[in-house]
């Protein structure tokens, strides 16, 4: 059976294809102007990689902020639930997930089955989200992906005084004007990011078994700073790319829904039809 999870975020879209109990293929693309377009293109790309077509999908669940606009999905589930489920599948010891996306940051606590118990989220301010790093990389004139490598060359990291993404960009501009080394600025940026996230984490508290997901988890300098600030080691997600955890969770929910639907069909008494959209 082929199950697909599709996560349409604010900056990127991800699709994961699972068959039985393993990931066959996944794809990540930059968002297109409309969420349905992003969903279609990223899913098509992943299917092509797996030499499949849309007809081969048995069940698809969508998540992310554009989740309700995806025509080929049979249901949508909030990204908070999906991150919990995805991270739990990747590593069963996970109890807290720090997800840093393009335009928000969340801390999600889950039980031993991966179901959400508590969460806290920042979607009001760009500080502490991917947009912060993106803006900073632009001012420094480096690719977002190179920010971590640049900061590892730092001898004495700077301390940023501004939290706001826009104001911090100007602060960095002034530092560049003053001839401060770019690697020291990059290290200061990654540190500022980690400190902002740690404030969010402290609002909800942590339970041992902390995983970090989302695109920002690929910036090892931020991850290392955050682990220092929080005084803990993150648990590994194994082979799973941290950016696809939401989509993976959606695919796992797709599998669960499909199996439940089969069970209902098999039991003559359970007659209620499945609904198009169910919110968990």
């Amino acid at each position: 059976m082929i199950y697909v999870g599709c996560d349409v975020g604010s900056l990127s879209g991800e699709a994961v294809i699972i068959e039985d109990d393993s990931i066959i293929k996944y794809e990540i693309i930059r968002v297109r102007p409309r969420p349905e377009q992003t969903a279609f293109e990223v899913t098509k790309k992943a299917l092509a990689e797996a030499k499949m077509s849309f007809d081969d999908i048995d069940y698809c669940v969508s998540t992310g902020y554009g989740r309700e606009k995806i025509p080929f999905s049979k249901g949508s589930i909030s990204e908070i639930s999906c991150h919990g489920r995805g991270a739990q599948w990747a590593n069963p010891s996970v109890r807290t997930i720090i997800d840093i996306g393009g335009q928000d940051a969340k801390v999600i606590k889950v039980d031993k089955l991966g179901y959400m118990v508590d969460f806290v989220m920042n979607d009001k301010c760009a500080a502490g989200t991917g947009r912060f790093l993106e803006g900073m990389a632009k001012v420094l004139g480096v690719d977002l992906e190179d920010l971590a490598a640049l900061s590892s060359e730092a001898a004495s990291p700077v301390a940023l005084t501004k939290t706001c993404t826009v104001l911090a960009q100007f602060e960095v501009l002034y530092m560049l004007n003053d001839g401060i080394d770019r690697s020291n600025i990059a290290a200061g940026i990654n540190r500022a990011m980690a400190e902002r996230i740690s404030k969010l984490v402290r609002r909800v508290g942590i339970k041992e078994g902390v995983a970090i997901t989302g695109g920002v988890a690929k910036n090892f300098a931020v991850v290392q700073s955050l682990s220092e600030v929080l005084g803990l080691q993150f648990v590994s997600l194994g082979e799973v790319d941290p950016q696809i955890v939401g989509a993976l969770g959606a695919a796992l929910f797709a599998k669960e829904r499909w199996q439940k639907a089969r069970q209902r069909e098999a039991t003559p008494t359970g007659g209620n039809k499945e609904t198009k959209s169910v919110y968990v």
């Binding site: 102007p33 009001k124 301010c125 760009a126 826009v166 002034y174 004007n177």
Partner: protein, 260 residues
Amino acid sequence: MLILGCDVGAIATKTVIFGDTGIVAYDITVNNGNLKKVVEKSVDTAISKAGMLLECIEVKAGTGMGEQYIPFEHTTEGIIKCLAVAVHRIHPHARTIVDMGGLITTVISISEKGKVLEYRTSDKCASGSGFFLKLAAQALELNVEDLGDIIIPCGERAHMGTQCAVFGESEIVSHMNDGEAPEKIVAGINYSLGSSVATMINRLGGIQDIVATGGVAKNKSVLRAIEEILGMEVITLSSIDEQLVGALGAALCAQQRMQQ
């Protein structure tokens, strides 16, 4: 006697040459690239417009967040005092000044004599700043100067759900993708900015006359939004460009200091 006043802000550098008859010449240069060079250029332009040489100017004064980039000897004064002195000189009835700059909005309450009583500044967050308008204009592919000309009935404004300048830019893009009319989006942006500024004015008591300065004060639609929310009139100074008030204040402060 001639006094040079230079205000190095976040987005632009402003220079005025102030003589016995008032402002003789001025310049506004957008900060692009090396700040020291921008300041030099702005000062040179103002001086040559006045037909002068830097050596001929007896007093030089600086203010603004980039004041340290002024490459010659000068007296310095904080921007808050500069604004208070200049606004009081031009409009003695002013009791509240709303300076809406490129990055920071400052609300200052002043006494009948022009003394600073209290002030609030938005130096933690760029939500109500001119930079937000700049990002918005870029997203909409419009000139930032033209955003203020759009005034439409309040019921037709596009809703802005976020205060954050960075997220605001994305929200504008999704409004555009949803086919919302650009003028409705612009009206929504102006209203959102006006409402964050109005909140700041309210916190300081909002005593009239309220005078708006800074680049954003050129945006009439933002001013109307503030008036609509406060139910009070917000005026601009007709005798001077809104962006030059800080630089003029620097010159006036230097003049006061000499007279003492």
